[in-house]
């Protein structure tokens, strides 16, 4: 009897339409990869807008970029790369059946994501104080260029949309945390941890492109 219940526990997660656990895992992973492709194209539209306007107004980009705080941008880059490491460690813990490790690593990842958002909040509010708003509401006079508002429209769209993705990631990891504390994940079933990790790496990689393109060009 004990043997069959052990098998039940190992296969409880397999949904009715999959043949086995492997097929389910591979499907979920492939689905996530395809989803990441759509994310890249989603951001791709913004990168295209960035490229077009940078080709038209190269001097504007250099002037406007000076308004962005490279130090805090750099800190945020380190924070996000660190969180990518911890989420990868959470997956590793799940693969090794280390229940405590999953929880701790997820907690650190969530904390780092919050640090990122807090820094971003201070960056935004500093700009709003100066009157750097997107588009028609732009009132800042420190940049001597008629199209300065366009750069910041693109800046707010890109970082704002990235911020939304960070928040979604936090939500997903809180959900994982709740499940992990119940001991749902083990070496035979860690699909949600793995695919959330994939998503989180993408959020990280997009930031790694945004940081030099927006902050470092001056």
């Amino acid at each position: 009897m004990s043997q069959t219940s052990a098998i039940d526990q190992l296969t409880a997660h397999v949904q009715h339409h999959f043949v086995d656990s492997d097929q389910q895992f591979e499907s979920a992973k492939m689905g996530m990869w395809v989803f990441l492709v759509t994310e890249i194209l989603f951001f791709g539209g913004l990168f295209a807008a960035y490229i077009v306007y940078r080709a038209w107004y190269p001097d504007l980009y250099i002037m406007a970029s000076e308004q962005l705080d490279t130090f805090w941008g750099g800190v945020n880059t380190v924070v996000l790369i660190g969180s990518s490491l911890t989420v990868a460690m959470a997956i590793r813990s799940a693969q090794l059946n280390q229940q405590k490790g999953i929880v701790i690593n997820l907690l650190i990842t969530i904390a780092l994501a919050f640090v990122f958002m807090v820094i971003k909040y201070f960056e935004y509010s500093h700009k709003f104080e100066l009157g750097i708003f997107p588009g028609a509401y732009y009132t800042f006079e420190g940049i001597d260029h008629p199209q300065a508002n366009i750069f910041f429209s693109i800046y707010y769209m890109m970082t704002g949309l990235h911020g939304v993705h960070v928040i979604v990631g936090i939500g997903l990891m809180v959900w994982l945390l709740v499940k992990a504390r119940k001991g749902v994940f083990h070496s035979n079933y860690y699909t949600p941890v793995e695919i959330t990790g994939l998503y989180w790496h993408l959020v990280d990689i997009i930031w790694i492109f945004l940081f030099p393109l927006l902050y470092l060009i001056d």
Binding site: H16, H17, F42, G45, A136
Partner: protein
């Protein structure tokens, strides 16, 4: 060593399973009540819910078209004013494209048939599938709100700066609706790609994949790659209206042509979302009703992928007069001609399939014939529009209107109707009146040509599209076209009648009324709740009509496909014990 080698080979014991005729329990009645439908994760039920929804939108869009044609009976004002007219054609376009054509074959018929043709129990992510349906509904609610709170008149393309500055606030609602709808399309595409990759039945290799699956695969790739770009474009447009971010608004230093590039980078591939799955349906129908192996299997399969690929490189041909550089115009024009090659390959392979086949002119085949005729006209006029000098002359005229109606309606809608009639017995287990179906098909064919052939003539003589009034010389053409649209409407009305009759009083259908070799016909009609009672095993291709039926109804012996698993294990254990004893 030798023993180890043999141990690695998995032996599958297969046995023939004839489908049960007219089963008492099937997916339609296995669970009862409206709640069981609304919360279902069964791909077949979700497909039917999509089917019902797109039928409603097709009706709304069609009624709007009838209104437009009625207004155009006379050169001056007839019964609606100019602004209302603009709103009607905007809604007709947006509804027909986003709410009918794009989900028609992939989401409705595709959902129903894809797992059945792959020999699996469901799509890879059933809950995501249901979510995508509800996302579609939410998008539709936004759009309906936009319609009933005053409509909008930007055209279905929402070109800036008009769409970002026009006073009607409904642009925001409508674009948000379509933004939401896009996610439904993305999720369906994602689901299909993963299902085709990972859930094929034992023995179903890529070279035995039905051509409908290849076309859905190509379509899903387009959906997954193009739709996110539409999403970001509409998000930017929404922000443009809400916060005036200025990226597309020339008053704030933005560029309206950039909007057109973004929009058509999605919307041209979207044209292929609207036609490639139709190609797949036609391949299935022509092979089945010619009782013959499809001619040029790989040519048809790969030309779908080729169309998907080239489709991403031709968006600029919508902007020949929008201020693109002349070099870009030439490149886009040349690339546009390339689309004709894979499309021509398909047409010729279908014709070669029919050659010396034993053709059975049932209703689905009749629609396939109509498709071949109308789509060829639509395709050739498309090549003419891709030619730069001709396009400058007929740009934004009725010639363009007639062209895309021949492709979209004459192509995709006819393919959809063919597919609907082809798979109708599998969906509902009922037959429809063949007599009335053929009459309705003939009326639709005549009505369609009456409506749109005159528009080619008008367009080439300079009648601009989207105009409310026109000069007297066009009146005979417009009147002929309007009468044609009424004939078309009557055809659809008859179809509604006999399909309803079939649902209520129709004769029961057999499991395989067309004698097809494809996998979806090897289960009972309507399909069982979990598709296959026994995991199917495929040894022949879906078009191998020269092989006996007994080789197409194979399933793994002993296993119950994971349902009622207690019996399974004991059975398998016994077999294993017997094997060991040997």
């Amino acid at each position: 060593m030798a023993t180890e080698e043999t141990a690695r080979i998995k032996k599958l014991q297969v046995q023939r399973y004839k489908p049960e005729e007219n089963p008492k329990v099937h997916f339609l009645n296995a669970e009862k009540g409206i709640w069981s439908w609304l919360t279902t994760i069964d791909h077949k039920r979700i497909g039917i819910m999509y089917l019902a929804s797109i039928a409603v939108f097709f009706f709304i869009g069609g009624m709007l078209a009838i209104l437009l044609r009625t207004e155009l009976l006379t050169p001056a004002q007839n019964f609606v004013d100019a602004n209302t007219y603009n709103q009607i054609f905007t809604l007709h376009g947006a509804i027909m494209i986003f709410f009918f054509l794009i989900p028609s074959v992939p989401a409705a018929l595709g959902n129903l048939i894809l797992p059945l043709q792959l020999g699996c129990k469901d799509v890879a992510f059933p809950r995501l599938n249901l979510a995508s349906y509800y996302i579609y509904v939410i998008g539709a609610l936004f759009t309906l709100t936009a319609i009933f709170t005053g409509g909008l008149d930007t055209g279905w393309t929402f070109y800036t700066p008009y769409s970002s500055t026009t006073s009607g606030s409904n642009v925001l609602l409508m674009t948000l609706g379509i933004f939401i709808l896009g996610f439904s399309s993305i999720l369906t595409g994602l689901n299909f790609i993963v299902t085709i990759h990972k859930l094929r039945a034992p023995g179903l290799t890529w070279s035995k994949l039905p051509l409908f699956q290849w076309s859905l695969y190509a379509t899903s790739i387009i959906q997954v790659l193009a739709t996110p770009v539409l999403a970001i474009t509409l998000l930017l447009l929404t922000m443009e209206r809400a916060l005036s971010i200025g990226i597309f608004d020339p008053n704030l230093g933005g560029d309206p042509v950039l909007y057109q590039h973004f929009f058509w980078f999605y919307s041209h591939p979207a044209v292929y979302i609207m036609i490639v799955p139709g190609f797949g349906v036609i391949s299935e129908i022509i092979s089945t009703f010619s009782k013959k192996t499809i001619f040029g299997y790989w040519a048809i399969a790969l030309s779908s992928l080729a169309i998907a690929f080239i489709g991403f490189l031709v968006w600029g041909h919508h902007m020949f007069t929008a201020g693109q550089s002349s070099l870009a115009n030439m490149v886009f024009s040349f690339l546009t001609f390339l689309v004709g090659i894979p499309t021509g390959i398909k047409i010729f392979n279908w014709l070669a399939t029919m050659y010396k086949g034993s053709i059975d002119m049932k209703t689905p085949m009749l629609y396939a014939m109509v498709f071949l005729f109308l789509f060829t006209i639509g395709g050739f006029t498309g090549i003419m529009l891709g030619a730069l000098s001709v396009d400058i002359h007929v740009h934004d005229t009725y010639y363009v209107v007639a062209h895309f109606h021949y492709v979209m309606m004459g192509g995709m809608v006819m393919a959809f109707l063919g597919g609907l009639h082809y798979w109708w017995p599998k969906m509902f287990g009922k037959m429809y009146s063949e007599y009335w179906a053929k009459i309705s098909c003939a009326i639709i064919f005549i009505g369609f040509n009456m409506t749109f052939l005159p528009q080619f003539v008008m367009g080439s003589q300079g009648m601009p599209r989207r105009y409310y009034n026109y000069i007297d010389q066009f009146q005979p053409f417009h009147q002929f076209s309007t009468i044609g649209s009424y004939v078309l409407g009557i055809g659809f009305f008859i179809m509604f009648g006999y399909l309803l009759h079939s649902l209520l009083r129709g004769k029961k259908a057999t499991a395989n009324p067309w004698g097809s070799r494809a996998l979806e016909w090897q289960v009972s009609s309507p399909a069982p709740q979990h598709n296959f009672e026994h995991t199917p095993v495929i040894i022949n291709g879906p078009y191998d009509y020269h092989k006996p039926m007994s080789e197409f109804q194979l399933g793994i012996a002993g296993s119950h496909n994971g349902h009622g698993s207690d019996a399974d294990i004991s059975q398998t254990n016994k077999e294993q014990a017997a094997d060991k004893a040997k």
